[in-house]
């Protein structure tokens, strides 16, 4: 089964926004090979002054309303390939709302209206031709609280590949399960008890199980919404280590309240405040010498 996200390039809807950034989005569109295999080993530390990497996802002039209340204002942001982009900002700043726009999780929320243009590898993800289920296969998500299915460890991982028809037979499915658990750094801990319930694992293991579940369907992008906030420092370190390893094969966007975590795991950081994107730059720049005083006030703990 060919997912529409991986299908050969359809003629994209012409960008409707007249923003100057549109051309770079279009360039990325041409260069981004949709069927390009994940390149392992690409995850070497991104040099600070790296040439602008190709965006995997682009958002342009995104506005969003919850009923009458506007939650996002003209947000334009690129999520570069094989990098970790951290979204930071105080509660209610719109970072999670924006993250959820990237795989249309806001569609399920009553009264949400969105404007703007969000693309994955150049394709408009809000286009009518897009199958949302397939989109969420391509753009997976890991939540704050580990939420394994009330099923065995094996079935937690196998569920996605089964419904997306990614495995021909049991052997192939076994392989996907094993590789996903290995990818999430959980295999050695659970290989002897794949039939035990997923929720019998510790919190940190459950979160890695959710990450394994997310990567089992071979997504392009993994969205993480506060993946460590319910975990102890050791489990957090495991997840951070994992995020760094996953970057070789996936593109990651992470929402975190932990500034040190954002500084450690990401290459790009975007700072949101009251629904606006205030500053977006190399992570090193943001945390050592941000350009905007509002960013500085926030990351140094001066927000009053």
């Amino acid at each position: 089964m060919v997912s529409p996200m991986n299908a050969p390039q359809q003629t994209p809807r012409p960008a409707q926004t007249g923003s100057a950034q549109t051309s770079s989005a279009q360039t990325g569109l041409v260069q981004t090979g949709l069927a390009e295999p994940a390149r392992a080993g690409f995850g070497a530390p991104a040099p600070a002054a790296s040439p602008v990497p190709e965006p995997r996802m682009t958002a342009r002039n995104v506005n969003l309303w919850y009923g009458q209340k506007q939650a996002l204002f003209e947000v334009s942001l690129d999520i570069p390939k094989h990098q970790v982009t951290a979204l930071i900002g105080p509660s209610g700043c719109g970072k999670s709302t924006f993250l959820r726009c990237l795989n249309r999780m806001n569609d399920t929320i009553e009264g949400v209206r969105m404007e703007g243009d969000i693309r994955l590898d150049g394709r408009d993800i809000y286009d009518r031709s897009i199958d949302v289920v397939e989109l969420r296969q391509a753009v997976g998500m890991v939540f704050q609280k580990p939420n394994p299915f009330p099923k065995s460890i094996y079935d937690n991982i196998a569920y996605g590949p089964r419904i997306h028809g990614l495995a021909q037979d049991k052997a192939e499915l076994d392989e996907i399960v094993e590789n996903s658990l290995k990818g999430a750094g959980l295999w050695t801990e659970v290989q002897d008890r794949l039939d035990t319930p997923g929720n019998s694992l510790s919190g940190g293991q459950q979160q890695r199980l959710c990450i394994a579940r997310a990567i089992a369907v071979s997504p392009e992008v993994i969205l993480m919404d506060e993946p460590c906030s319910a975990l102890d420092p050791i489990a957090t370190a495991h997840i951070e280590e994992l995020i760094d390893a996953l970057r070789a094969n996936f593109t990651i966007a992470i929402v975190t309240h932990n500034m040190q975590q954002a500084a450690r795991v990401s290459q790009k950081t975007a700072f949101f405040h009251l629904g606006k994107l205030i500053e977006h730059d190399d992570t090193e720049q943001i945390f050592t010498n941000p350009r905007q005083s509002m960013t500085q006030d926030y990351i140094t703990g001066r927000f009053g």
Partner: protein, 226 residues
């Protein structure tokens, strides 16, 4: 500095660290002034007091290290705060080196007090005046977070270097005139070299103040100086 932190104890930590640097700077200024005085007045007692005073400087440096490490561990400073704490560590190191040079000058002052004066000293007091003014200005600049003042002091280093080169030639002439001058001239040469190095450390501090405030280095292009 930007607004206050949400956690006011964090502000207190940073203020205390700044105060410690200023205190150490004040002590170094004093050491420097006294060693020059001992040198020009041929005052062995005073020179000895300068040498004894160095322990206090070292002790302050240790305290600053401790305070900075504690802030790093407890506050995980970011951006301007991070630069401030990191530069406190480096600035205290520069100050400690300056004090060492002051001690060395005091040591030379003791040895010079035993030998007949070579010639009336003109350049050494001029150099020390300039070096002292640079040190005073960078310390003011630090206390006031005034990068303009820091950069102005930084530019004066060139003048100090020129004085040193001039004095070097002058002393060589004296040594050629009469080899009995050599011991004293060598001592003076070291004193001049130490003053020149003190100026360099003052420059380092100016650079660190600039980085601390702006996150960028002072433009090192020589022509940009004027």
């Amino acid at each position: 500095m930007p607004k206050e932190h949400i956690v006011s104890a964090y502000d207190t930590d940073i203020e205390n660290l700044t105060r410690q640097i200023i205190e150490m700077g004040g002590l170094v200024e004093h050491q420097l002034a006294q060693c020059i005085k001992a040198l020009t007045l041929r005052d062995i007692d005073l020179a000895t007091r300068v040498m004894d005073g160095d322990d206090k400087v070292d002790q302050l440096e240790e305290e600053i290290d401790k305070a900075a490490i504690r802030i790093l561990a407890t506050r995980q400073p970011m951006a301007v705060d991070l630069r401030l704490v990191a530069m406190a560590l480096k600035i205290s190191n520069d100050l400690e080196r300056m004090a060492d040079y002051a001690t060395n000058i005091a040591r030379r002052a003791v040895s010079l007090a035993d030998t007949p004066p070579v010639k009336p000293l003109y350049t050494i007091p001029l150099m020390s005046e300039l070096a002292q003014s640079m040190v005073a200005d960078v310390l003011d600049a630090y206390a006031q977070r005034d990068t303009t003042k820091a950069v102005a002091a930084w530019h004066r280093d060139k003048q100090l270097d020129e004085m040193y080169t001039g004095l070097f030639r002058e002393l060589v002439t004296y040594m050629l005139e009469d080899p009995r001058n050599i011991t004293a001239c060598i001592d003076l040469m070291f004193c001049a070299k130490h003053l020149e190095r003190i100026g360099d450390h003052a420059c380092n501090i100016a650079e660190k103040i600039h980085y601390m405030m702006h996150g960028q280095r002072i433009n090192r292009m020589p022509q940009a100086a004027e």
